[in-house]
Subunit: 445 residues, 2 copies
């Protein structure tokens, strides 16, 4: 998680708490930083400077950030240092460039929008700032959060993709340029890059982080989430941007289910090993684990999700498609063309089937607290032209349930592999507690 | 429906078809106009001119349109006249000013956004244009589609409210300034003004008309819909903007249920009479009608809907709230302040309850094709400071089901009263067919 490339220790190191390790401020988790700021042993200004230095040192290689404004970020940090209160006071965060910001260009990963400056910050960004967080800058996205990648590189091996579409978010957090970044997921755009970059990816229940100011793609699925280095940070920031602190939970031992699906045939052996290892370690620490398969009605939604996406995206990007499609990638053109033959009747039928499946999935969660599932096929592949398959996110994005991908191990190429925990609709607090437990027992091993 | 104020007949009248009536082009329904254009008996240019003349004649009184561009609209109309194909070819439409348009100021009903020009058309607008429709201009909205009204007046009696928040949409269509207008509904912002202005209001299944380019308020409820003068027009335009023609349906006799709820105590006698009259006439024409009450779990959602709205709107408008709240109305300030004490845990619990209720409502529709329900308390009240209570829309907006309000009768003050038909999630085509049947039998009487 970026420790392969530690920053030069020219910042005053900070005692990171329980473990007593000394870390450069940019290496602190958001929660460690918040505690240090609260205790007066760290200033937001020092933290932001450390992050900016890390960006200066590494971004020309990693290409995660698309824009920073040092003076502005430092001004906000100094302001935070003069305040009291604010759950997220002084914590720097980055924003995926499909989410609008007033102080930074928002280009949605498309040449069509070069130089575009929205009039206001997205609701999620404004809420984070309202609760004390400090906007550090924008991070790269694939084209309109679809499949044509940004030029971002995997910080663990620059020859490999960081995954997409939240490529910049995952890479920036993994490389300790920033402790938290907003990402977005319509299919697997948070959990996949999180797994590839060895960080935590939290896709909340649909709508938990409000989508005002997000460029819509498939608005009945588009979800804003977070990339962080610990599960606790994801919970801290997601609840913190709503002005709340996460309650301590101790409802573990959780009831878990390894959730086999037809998609598993696409998972590499090392990924299946990782899922099973997490299950084993969880069991050893008191969890109840069984294996389930998905009902056919839910399995079948995999193909449906892609068609529903195409129908909606074709409409969301209709203006650009009609007026600027010469600036679309070929891949995007083809993706949108996929929506061409879908009738409104078929669309509405798909929506009904998805609604029925949500109810069916809810009853599946009556006996299970979280499902275990791959977030990606395996390690990040070499090359930057393809950001990997989104197949392991499709069902859960369509079904609106919360998902957390957390780092577990490394694969045969030495790159990170994560595992995904999936909770019931609206059960984000419990899911985050379970994922924190799972990440802990997986790391203890 | 505007016939109280016929335009001077200085346009070549058009034979409106089956009934053989001669109408000025602006009085034609969208479907009548489309057939006349297809038959070569009407040009889009003549239709657009008639609409623009009607606007010039009446808008200073009604204050429905906030902007038109004659040259631009006529250019697009002439272009449509030179084309073939396009389901909506040549049909003028207006857009509620919370929906973004490149060629017109989009101020969202707020002084904060005076002069704001978005970079692209909303997806819904672009799709309508792609299928041949001609954008005539923007129509008034209450402040950010919340409760502080625009200055629009009810064309049936200028001293009365047209209802809100889609005030301009309903008034413009009622006054025959335009046959179709986009409106939006988060609580009752389409069905209420439709009833007050004696037009049809169609709030589709959540997401059927894509929300890209709509200023979000409560994104898990915000729905784009249509105001038209006939139910057939709503179906024609909603499917037409997706490039499709509505299939003829003849699955009537429908199974209907008068849906009594705790909200009915707020409905005036004339409204309850109207609902019962529709039921009676439908029965006389072959429908099966029974009366049901709502389960407590659904009834209780009425209060929940307002709290969920406040939580989401507080976040959607966070930037404006933090930087420009001196330009908010007092009413909006108070409404957003209502979200202040709601914790994210409470919010997620509300979302879970809404999801459960959606499943419960789906099973209620196993034996019923459509519910009959008031769209408003009664006639439009006198005065423009208040646009009426949204209470008859709250449940159905939260539950994502399609609703059609259609004109039925007039109340003691001589103003229109509509009735609302509500269908199952995704069952829009059937609901529209049933509503067309109901509007027909109610008018036959």
């Amino acid at each position: 998680m970026g420790q392969d490339h530690p920053g030069r220790p020219h910042h005053a190191a900070v005692n990171a708490g329980e473990a007593g390790r000394m870390k450069s401020p940019n290496q602190l988790s958001a929660l460690e930083a918040a505690r240090a700021i609260e205790a007066g042993t760290l200033t937001s200004e020092a933290l932001v400077r450390a992050c900016l230095d890390r960006i200066a040192e590494r971004n020309l290689d990693v290409l995660a950030f698309t824009a920073t404004d040092h003076e502005l970020a430092l001004r906000h940090a100094r302001h935070a240092d003069q305040q009291t209160g604010g759950v997220l006071r002084g914590i720097p965060f980055a924003v995926k460039d499909v989410i609008e910001t007033r102080d930074y260009e928002t280009a949605y990963g498309s040449p069509i929008y070069l130089g575009h400056r929205p009039r206001v910050d997205a609701g999620s960004v404004a809420r984070a700032c309202e609760n004390g967080a400090v906007l550090l800058g924008k991070v790269a996205t694939s084209e309109f959060a679809t499949q044509t990648p940004s030029n971002t590189r995997n910080p663990h091996d620059l020859r490999h993709t960081p995954g997409g579409s939240s490529s910049g978010s995952a890479a920036a957090v993994a490389d300790c340029m920033v402790p938290v970044a907003f990402g977005t997921q319509t299919t697997a755009s948070i959990v996949r890059p999180a797994s590839y970059c060895g960080v935590v990816g939290y896709k909340p229940t649909f709508g938990f982080i409000g989508t005002a100011g997000l460029k819509p793609l498939s608005p009945t699925q588009d979800t804003i989430g977070l990339l962080t280095r610990t599960v606790e940070d994801a919970a801290f920031f997601a609840f913190g941007l709503h002005g709340a602190r996460v309650a301590d939970r101790d409802d573990l031992s959780p009831r878990l289910a390894i959730c086999r699906s037809g998609q598993w045939e696409h998972a590499r052996p090392e990924m299946i090993d990782a899922v099973e290892r997490v299950a084993r370690e969880a069991q050893r620490h008191g969890a109840v684990v069984r294996t389930i398969t998905l009902p056919r009605e839910i399995e079948d939604l995999y193909d449906l999700q892609a068609r529903l996406f195409a129908f909606e995206a074709r409409q969301s990007l209709a203006h650009e498609r009609l007026h600027d499609s010469d600036k679309f990638s070929e891949r995007l053109k083809q993706r949108l063309a996929g929506g061409l033959g879908i009738t409104p009747d078929e669309y509405l039928t798909m929506r009904r089937r998805a609604a029925l499946a949500r109810a069916q999935l809810a009853s599946l969660f009556d006996g299970v607290d979280a499902l275990l599932y791959p977030p990606a096929q395996g390690e990040a592949d070499a090359g930057l032209a393809d950001s990997g398959s989104p197949r392991f996110g499709a069902l859960w994005s369509l079904l609106h349930v919360p998902c957390v991908s957390f780092p577990v191990t490394r694969g045969p190429q030495g790159l990170p592999i994560g595992v995904q925990a999936i909770g019931a609709h609206g059960d984000d607090a419990r899911l985050l507690a379970i994922a924190a437990f799972l990440a802990r027992v997986a790391a203890d091993r």
